[in-house]
């Protein structure tokens, strides 16, 4: 049975808007994008199969032209919080649009739930890409050994990516050793990537130096498991951030209490504003690629260096310079996916693609079925999903079955499940119950559709 295609209206063709459009287009949806900048839209339309409309996204006539009347889902992701709020309000009040998602940056709005309620701006879900990215980087700074730390089930379970190094007790041993070595710690290896090829982990799989290992563990146990894979670095103390934009500012604010933070920003006026807002951060006015300034500020003593300006080339260059000058670990924000692949794993320790980091939370709202969280892994190649299980033994192909009885596609593994507040690691004989949150790791994004279908309740349920 063919599903009716979903009509999605995206307001704003900026970074967020175009990335969302890109990832949704492939999933057979009808997409319309509205932006006031016709040039951006033309570029988008050249690449993707969608409809575009130039105009102010908060004006009713523009929305009507964009076909809001029969739209299933509104994604208001323009640069302006206010435009997004007004668009959601109009969509709800005038056009009865069923689902409304808004991108909201200002903490002033986010801190007040009432702003989004049905009586006020009628926002079903609000997302803040800058905040997601900030949380992501904060986690990396907290666990400097990890390549990626992702949270599921409201932070109870984490998926951690780490590169195995000589010196970790597990390196050179089979995976089953993990269990016998640390019987009290529940952890499960979900996937291993060796030279960019996925290996399905089994008890006998040997861990090698240089493997990229994805493991799932209760969030409190992350550090203990990390210790198995490699020698731990010394904890992060000094952080340097280049770029005082939305992300740099949020990050500095999140870190300044626990770390020594230096923030370099080019624009003097922005510096003044930042210095007024931040209390413990040292705000420096200068160029992130100015090696004299970096030396002056002892970049060689820095534990984590984050290049977070709007400019990919600048970020790459200043991260390279910092690494050259002796920074322990460097991180660069890179928008162009071509650059990300080019740079990652070279001198730059972590290349962050904002689109891939943030798209997950948006997608989890957009996707059909009960997807509580979606995280892109390995720059979009793999995915981890948190799915909520419904139904009973008759209507669902999952409920009441042991994990090894479930017909998962090859390359997908059930890492863990959360039942109420309890975290259960996924063993072959674990039985899944209704309302469990199941964390599924998928090594290839193409299998996501199959997995989602597997977890959907069959029609007979209704």
């Amino acid at each position: 049975m063919e599903r009716r295609s979903v009509k999605i209206l995206i307001l704003g063709a900026g970074q967020v808007g175009s990335t969302v459009a890109e990832s949704l287009v492939s999933e057979a949806n009808d997409i319309t994008v509205v932006d006031s900048d016709g040039e951006k839209l033309r570029q988008l339309q050249d690449r993707l199969d969608l409809r575009t409309l130039t105009g102010n996204a908060a004006h009713p006539t523009v929305l009507e032209q964009a076909g809001i009347v029969d739209t299933d889902m509104l994604l208001a992701v323009t640069q302006s919080d206010e435009v997004n709020l007004v668009a959601c309000k109009l969509a709800a009040s005038l056009y009865n649009t069923p689902t409304r998602i808004a991108r909201i940056r200002a903490l002033d709005y986010l801190n007040r739930e009432a702003v989004f309620s049905a009586e006020n701006f009628c926002v079903d879900f609000s997302i803040c890409p800058e905040q997601i990215l900030t949380d992501y980087i904060t986690k990396l700074i907290e666990f400097p050994e990890a390549l990626q730390v992702l949270e599921f089930a409201e932070g109870k379970v984490s998926l951690v990516a780490v590169r195995a190094f000589e010196g970790g007790p597990l390196v050179g041993k089979p995976l089953s050793f993990l269990r016998s070595h640390m019987p009290q710690v529940e952890a499960r290896v979900a996937a291993i990537f060796r030279q960019d090829r996925a290996i399905i982990p089994e008890g006998a799989t040997l861990v090698q130096d240089g493997d990229e290992i994805f493991f799932i563990a209760a969030s409190d146990n992350i550090r203990r498991v990390l210790k198995e894979m490699r020698r731990l670095d010394k904890p992060t103390k000094r952080v340097m951030i280049v770029g005082g934009g939305n992300i740099g500012r949020r990050l500095a604010k999140a870190l300044e209490r626990d770390y020594q933070v230096k923030l370099i920003e080019f624009n003097k006026k922005t510096c003044q504003k930042l210095a007024g807002e931040l209390t413990n951060t040292l705000v420096l006015n200068g160029d992130g690629t100015d090696e004299k300034l970096m030396q002056q500020e002892n970049v060689n003593e820095i534990d984590v260096f984050c290049a977070l300006t709007n400019d990919d080339e600048n970020n790459i260059m200043s991260a390279l310079l910092a690494k050259q000058a002796g920074a322990e670990k460097v991180l660069a924000l890179i928008n162009r996916s071509a650059y990300v692949d080019l740079v990652q794993g070279g001198k730059i320790d972590i290349a962050l693609s904002p689109a891939h980091v943030t798209i997950g939370s948006l997608l989890s709202y957009v996707r059909q079925g009960d997807v509580a969280a979606v995280h892109s892994l390995r720059r979009g190649a793999a995915e981890a999903l948190e799915l909520v299980v419904h139904g009973d033994g008759h209507s669902s192909r999952v409920v009441g079955r042991r994990i090894d009885e479930i017909d998962l596609p090859k390359g997908a593994t059930i890492g863990a499940l959360v039942r109420g507040s309890e975290v259960i690691m996924g063993h072959h004989d674990t039985v899944i119950e209704a309302e469990d949150h199941v964390i599924v790791f998928v090594v290839d994004k193409k299998m996501v559709k199959k997995v989602e279908k597997l977890f959907q309740v069959s029609i007979g349920f209704f």
Partner: protein, 486 residues
């Protein structure tokens, strides 16, 4: 010239307002059945009133909005004219009192200095004493603020006057949208705390007259007393304690009191960086000085030392100027530390004098900024006080103020040295005058008073008090050629 008449027009109006103040001594005299005094005060009131009305009528053609510069002129004119009118009852009642001394006394009252040239305070008629203390009280929060509060001040730029009279470098933060409301609210808080002080002092054992007088001088941080021996006369730890509490109240910005009262929350005080620094410094100093006095065996036990150190230190540091013992006899470190505090601890918008804590904080942070700047030449570190950024122009204004403040002290001290006074007396007399503090050391110490000064020396101190109360700029600006240039 027409503009100058506008100033006189407003001045006339202010004098009319000021004449109302004579009602309190009139009532006091009536209560005590002293009918000669009733008559004297009524007469003075009439003179002041008529002088005001006359001035107002003659210049009514020039009624108009005051410019910024004329606001300064009006404030200074008012602050020299009011003490002059206030001398009339003193001159009439106290035999052999020269105008110089009387003017010193009333200026000392209005600027909340609390230094006196009079002896035999205990024998003065109650009406005269209440008049002296009322001057203390009115001068505390500012007579022009009061005028702005009770009158819509027909056509006078209220905000300018308010800024020229209220102490502190940052006066932009209005508590209410209208300046008259702000002024009124500040006075309501002031009156309310004063009433509480009167009742507390009565409860602590004073008579009604003493309670009212000392409440006036405590809240204004003036320091006038009805007794030659000042608070030492009562020799009561309870009274001293009550006064300490209320002096600490008065040394905090009244805007904070207002916000705390409106928000029914004490957290306002914790957010007031000035209040925290002031009170913290005072309390720490009390214990420090008490330990010092105990160690130097000035007092046999620590508690006695703490009692005397606390009261006299709070009194001098808050620029009140009461004394319970002759602290001039203490080892010089203690009184000098007290005078140092007197220069710095009062908050802006309080009734105290001196540099003000906010300026001290600004200077401290500025020094810190310079250090950071040396280590990190590229740093951008705006000054922040209580989480708010302080603009650079305010920092410069504070630096300018500090320079003028020290120059004033140096110049006036030299003036006293020329007249032949010894250094300690001259220096502390000027410190006490400019900080509106009261007693100094040596000739003008707590055991004696300013009556021993020559006329010249008295006038030097009078000028110091005026300059200190109006925070130097307001007065000195009149002496710059640019002020008079069109």
């Amino acid at each position: 010239m027409g503009r100058l008449f506008t100033v006189f027009h407003a001045l006339g109006l202010l004098l009319v307002v000021f004449s109302i103040a004579y009602l309190l001594p009139v009532v006091t005299a009536l209560i005590y059945g002293d009918f000669i005094l009733v008559w004297d005060f009524l007469l003075t009131m009439l003179w002041t009133f008529s002088a005001g009305v006359l001035m107002w009528l003659v210049t009514r053609r020039y009624k108009g909005e005051l410019s910024i510069r004329h606001g300064y002129l009006l404030v200074v004119a008012m602050w020299t004219a009011m003490p002059a009118f206030a001398t009339i009852p003193l001159l009439m009642m106290i035999p052999n009192l020269s105008f110089t001394d009387a003017y010193f006394e009333t200026m000392s009252g209005m600027t909340t200095t609390g230094a006196t040239v009079l002896t035999g305070l205990d024998n003065l008629p109650p009406a005269i004493n209440i008049w002296r203390h009322e001057l203390n009280w009115m001068g505390g929060l500012g007579i022009i603020v009061l005028a702005v509060a009770v009158l819509p001040l027909l056509g006078i730029g209220g905000r300018q006057l308010f800024k020229a009279e209220t102490p502190g470098p940052m006066k932009e933060s209005a508590l209410t949208p209208r300046i008259a409301d702000t002024a009124r609210n500040l006075w309501i808080v002031y009156v309310a705390i004063t009433l509480a002080c009167i009742l507390s002092l009565k409860w602590a054992g004073m008579g009604w007259l003493d309670a009212v007088c000392h409440a006036f001088s405590a809240m204004g941080l003036g320091g006038f007393s009805t007794h030659d021996a000042s608070i030492g006369y009562f020799d009561s730890p309870l009274i001293e304690f009550v006064l300490i509490v209320f002096m600490l109240f008065a040394v905090v910005n009244f805007a904070s009191h207002f916000l705390a009262w409106r928000g029914r929350s004490l957290r306002v005080y914790l957010r007031d960086a000035e209040a925290v620094a002031s009170v913290g410094l005072i309390v720490a100093s009390c214990f420090g000085i008490a330990l010092f006095l105990w160690w130097r065996e000035v007092y046999p036990d620590f508690l006695t030392a703490l009692r005397h150190a606390s009261f006299n230190l709070v009194s001098i540091a808050t620029d009140s100027g009461y004394a319970s013992v002759d602290f001039g006899q203490w080892p010089i470190f203690a009184p000098m530390w007290m005078f140092f505090l007197a220069c710095t601890v009062a908050s802006s918008g309080s009734t105290g004098g001196g540099i003000k804590m906010i300026r001290t904080l600004v200077l401290f942070k500025q020094a810190g900024r310079e250090f950071v700047k040396l280590l990190h030449p590229a740093v951008i570190n705006p000054m922040k006080i209580g989480g708010h950024v302080v603009a650079n122009n305010i920092v410069f204004a504070v630096l300018g103020f500090i320079f003028l403040y020290f120059m004033s002290i140096v110049t006036l001290t030299f003036a006293l040295l020329i007249s032949g006074m010894d250094f300690i007396s001259a220096f502390t007399a000027i410190l006490a005058s400019v900080n509106n503090c009261g007693p100094g050391l040596g000739v003008v110490g707590p055991a004696s008073n300013y009556s021993g000064l020559s006329d010249f020396q008295t006038w030097v101190c009078t000028i110091g008090m005026l300059v200190g109360r109006l925070e130097i700029f307001t007065v000195l600006i009149l002496f710059t050629p640019r002020f008079w240039r069109r």
